[in-house]
């Protein structure tokens, strides 16, 4: 999403539990901002309940969890379930970080849409989200009025 949009994608980024490795989430936050998205930074030491509550108040389209220490096999399925229970089933849940291969089927079954493992290029994350967003906008009824545009240069 390099062109400015009147409907930017909104994504909540958070870390769960006592995982305090912040470099990854910070780098991703800046990359997504550069890609034209509104990044709501919820911070560290979040519980699944806090993340779901924030996602609903902020009406984000996507929840991105950064996980660099264990715990995700418990906390992410719980988060996905709370999200469904509280009316947030339309929100996309993605995760990035250190996710062992053997954990991935469990997370996907629980409702995690996409897992970005260590070493993923941030542009790949932006591209994935952008494609998902454009597809969703195309599916939605074309309700938005076009923005007043500057007169074209002759």
């Amino acid at each position: 999403m390099t062109a400015k949009s009147s409907r930017p994608l909104r994504i909540l980024l958070a870390k769960l539990g006592l995982d305090t490795h912040t470099v990854g989430i910070t780098v991703v936050a800046h990359a997504l901002r550069e890609a034209g998205m509104e990044v709501i930074f919820a911070g560290l030491k979040q519980t699944p309940e806090m993340v779901v509550s924030a996602a609903i108040q902020e009406d984000v389209d996507v929840i991105g969890i950064s996980s660099l220490s264990a715990g995700h096999t418990r906390s992410l399925p719980r988060l996905a379930r709370l999200l469904r229970e509280q009316g947030g089933a339309d929100k996309l849940l993605i995760v990035g970080g250190v996710i062992p291969e053997e954990d991935q089927p469990l997370l996907e079954a629980a409702g995690v849409a996409r897992i970005f493992t260590m070493g993923t290029d941030t542009r790949e994350i932006a591209r994935y989200l952008n494609d998902w967003w454009l597809a969703r906008l195309a599916r939605a009824e074309p309700a938005t009025r076009t923005e007043p545009s500057a007169p074209p240069r002759q």
């Binding site: 999403m1 390099t2 400015k4 949009s5 009147s6 409907r7 930017p8 909104r10 936050a29 800046h30 997504l32 901002r33 550069e34 890609a35 034209g36 998205m37 509104e38 990044v39 709501i40 930074f41 919820a42 911070g43 030491k45 979040q46 309940e49 806090m50 509550s53 924030a54 609903i56 108040q57 902020e58 009406d59 509280q86 009316g87 947030g88 309700a143 938005t144 009025r145 923005e147 007043p148 007169p151 074209p152 240069r153 002759q154």
Partner: protein, 316 residues
């Protein structure tokens, strides 16, 4: 009435959040909901929190939420951060400082990007205030982006404008003071445990004293209160001051007048935007006026003459 409008008036968080999203995205469904809920607005006390970057606004808002909750009030918060003028993207990080209220059902925090609007607010901040008001929040705290000298749109939006100052900002604070001093209703000197607080406090008191001498402004003397927001010190007195100002506005009839002014302000802004868009669309459809617009780009005519010429041709 729409489902979202109904649910919002019943205080449902997801409905209010969705309505704000529509309004922020300029989705026409947002305007429809706004029309429905407008008669149910006008109750909430709108408080603007502004001041230079690094003054501790988010932490201070967190402290104010805590105190308001202790007094049994439901609190809405709108925290505005700048959007990139190039990509439109934004990092909205004010929630981080308000985490302890994350699971309190009496608190609703919404982050907004400025989305190209100058002045310290986003275009839809006013709309979001109306939504939170209609949802039944007693107080709506609007935290602006860190402002310099004249980014003070918050003044026309809020009942009560709070200016946050801190010691140790150096010379730049002088310029800020000149611009913000005239518009603040309550002054909070945050980080009052730091060096230099006495000097800044004395300067502010002097300037406020001078301001208090001119005519009508004398009716409300803006208080200057010291706070250490990270420790919650001074929070009770700050909320007392907000309530005293609201009471003052109500007693003098300004509370209602301000709401009317706010609405009129939004009315003219909406007209200005729509009229400009329609005028330009029409101008670009006709070759003579399209040539005039092109001349502006090519610097063949000064912008004022071009605007006058276009208005004359469209008989405005």
């Amino acid at each position: 009435m729409t489902d979202i409008g109904c649910a919002l008036l019943a205080g449902q968080v997801a409905a209010g959040a969705r309505a704000i999203r529509w309004l922020d995205d300029q989705d026409p469904r947002g305007r429809e909901v706004l029309r429905e809920i407008f008669p149910h607005t006008g109750r909430a006390h709108l408080v603007g929190i502004t001041g230079p970057p690094g003054a501790g606004k988010s932490t201070l808002v967190d402290a104010l939420i805590g105190e308001q909750r202790a007094r049994g009030r439901r609190v809405g918060v709108i925290a505005v951060d700048p959007s990139s003028p190039f990509t439109g993207g934004a990092i909205l990080g004010d929630r981080v400082r308000m985490q302890r209220h994350a699971l309190d059902e009496g608190v609703f925090v919404r982050s907004m990007g400025t989305r190209g609007q100058a002045g310290g607010l986003s275009r839809s901040t006013y709309d979001a205030c109306l939504v939170l008001d209609a949802m039944g929040y007693d107080v709506v705290l609007v935290e602006t982006v860190g402002v310099g000298q004249d980014e003070i749109d918050i003044v026309s939006l809020a009942h009560t404008t709070v200016i946050v100052m801190v010691p140790g900002l150096g010379d730049e604070v002088q310029a800020i003071k000149a611009g913000l001093l005239e518009v603040g209703d309550v002054f909070l000197l945050n980080k009052a445990d730091r060096d230099g607080v006495e000097q800044v406090g004395r300067e502010l008191e002097l300037m406020l004293h001078l301001r208090g001498q001119d005519g009508e402004a004398a009716a409300w003397r803006p208080p200057l209160l010291r706070m250490v927001a990270t420790r919650g010190e001074g929070t009770g007195a700050a909320v007392d001051a907000l309530e005293a100002h609201a009471a003052h506005l109500r007693a003098s009839g300004q509370y209602q007048r301000q709401a009317g002014l706010r609405s009129y302000h939004q009315f003219t802004a909406t007209l200005r935007e729509a009229a400009t868009r329609r005028l330009l669309e029409r101008a670009l459809r006709h070759s003579a006026t399209a040539a005039l617009v092109a001349d502006v780009h090519d610097l063949k005519v000064d912008p004022y003459s071009a605007a006058e010429a276009l208005l004359a041709q469209t008989e405005l």
